[in-house]
Symmetry: C2
């Protein structure tokens, strides 16, 4: 099984943590968004990462990939069993993928960490202020109301909780962390998810990517324990991408 | 069971068609996006429609609502059974919800039909040209490659196909229809879905909404056969909404 996508993407990280929990052997082709070649466009019509490739099967979208993994390898489970619980888990995942994706990735991580490096573009400070002082706090008020008092929502960690924790990991890399005094249950919940061994194991990969020049990145990832594919769907230069919308 | 949301929303229409196929009795509170009151914000933290309310259960997101309906009322099915087929169906639905949502709803229907009426704002003609001449055709090239030669993808109509057909219904209301000479399989596929009785039954509701002044809309909907709720989460004036992002 091959995952195409960078370890610093929260959507890729969600899938890598799910694969690790399931104990499914896999390799990673660590291309970054915007750096995919034409064959990548064919595999991923919206030029999104991650892509899962398993023989003839090609799947897009982290949520869909994780549902597929949970249906194909049900043990240990990553989704609750009762329909109402499943709907609740899916909504938490969708809230994270859409709302936290907009706030933590596009308007925070992308503009502060990615755009200055890749596109030589400086962040919009007024919008950053709106994100960190108004919109992320409002999202966290909602998350605080969903957070369990201890452990996880459904007796075991679920995909939605992994996804949620992934977005706050990227926010932290971009220099923003939630105030545990203001959102105590949310902060403890996210910290519990990030502390599970399969999640904690992803952090050295991010560090390897963020602290290495492009040319040394593969070696740094391998040194950090990543199993990388020999093939790649990446190319040396970024190109305009639908992901920018 | 109560569905909060307007019959002209493609996401609401998807759920209404699913409920009709399943034969599940329901009422509709026909609020339009941007017109929800504070209680609506509590039920729908991203102020999106549709919302499903079933006793204490409140669900957001048309995809999640339809998965819940299919898990709770499995007959007749709206999803295929094999995990790889389910992933394929989910990806088609996600492609429609995200990409066609952006193209057909926000950049076509919203700007041409909704914004001039609700927000007194005229459409950006250059972007409309980009959507109808470049981006929608590119999306349709991909859809054409997915289209079955006849009938439906998985032996019965599935949620993803209903969703797909919903977006092209809104595009048609906004004056854009795909060229059947250029995309023959896609055009025939969408027409087949729109022709199933449960889908065709939604069209008089749209007409009632689009051709009636606000004050007469409830009566027009009831005359067209809609079963409406007595309560409402709507309010008379639109307000700023997260949906505008």
């Amino acid at each position: 099984m091959l995952i195409v996508g960078s370890h610093v993407s929260p959507y890729v990280r969600k899938v890598l943590v799910a694969l690790a929990i399931k104990g499914i052997a896999h390799e990673v082709d660590p291309i970054t968004p915007f750096y995919g070649n034409d064959e990548f466009s064919r595999l991923s019509p919206l030029r999104r990462i991650p892509v899962l490739i398993d023989g003839d099967l090609v799947l897009n979208d982290s949520t869909i990939i994780c549902e597929y993994l949970d249906e194909t390898y049900p043990d240990p489970p990553l989704m609750p069993r009762a329909p109402a619980d499943r709907a609740k888990a899916r909504w938490l995942e969708e809230f994270a993928d859409s709302r936290l994706g907009d706030l933590c990735i596009w308007r925070l991580f992308f503009r502060k960490v990615v755009a200055p490096r890749v596109f030589k573009r400086e962040p919009d400070l007024e919008d950053l202020k709106l994100v960190t002082e108004v919109e992320l706090p409002a999202a966290l008020d909602w998350i605080e109301a969903q957070a369990p008092a201890d452990e996880f929502l459904f007796g075991h960690v679920c995909t939605a909780e992994i996804g949620l924790a992934c977005f706050f990991r990227n926010a932290a890399i971009a220099g923003w962390e939630m105030d545990p005094a203001r959102w105590p249950k949310a902060a403890a919940w996210v910290a519990r998810v990030q502390a599970i061994p399969e999640f904690a194991a992803t952090m050295p990969m991010e560090k390897a990517i963020l602290t290495s020049p492009n040319a040394e990145r593969r070696d740094a990832l391998i040194a950090a324990g990543a199993r990388l594919s020999e093939e790649t769907y990446g190319e040396p230069e970024p190109r305009a991408s639908i992901m920018l919308r």
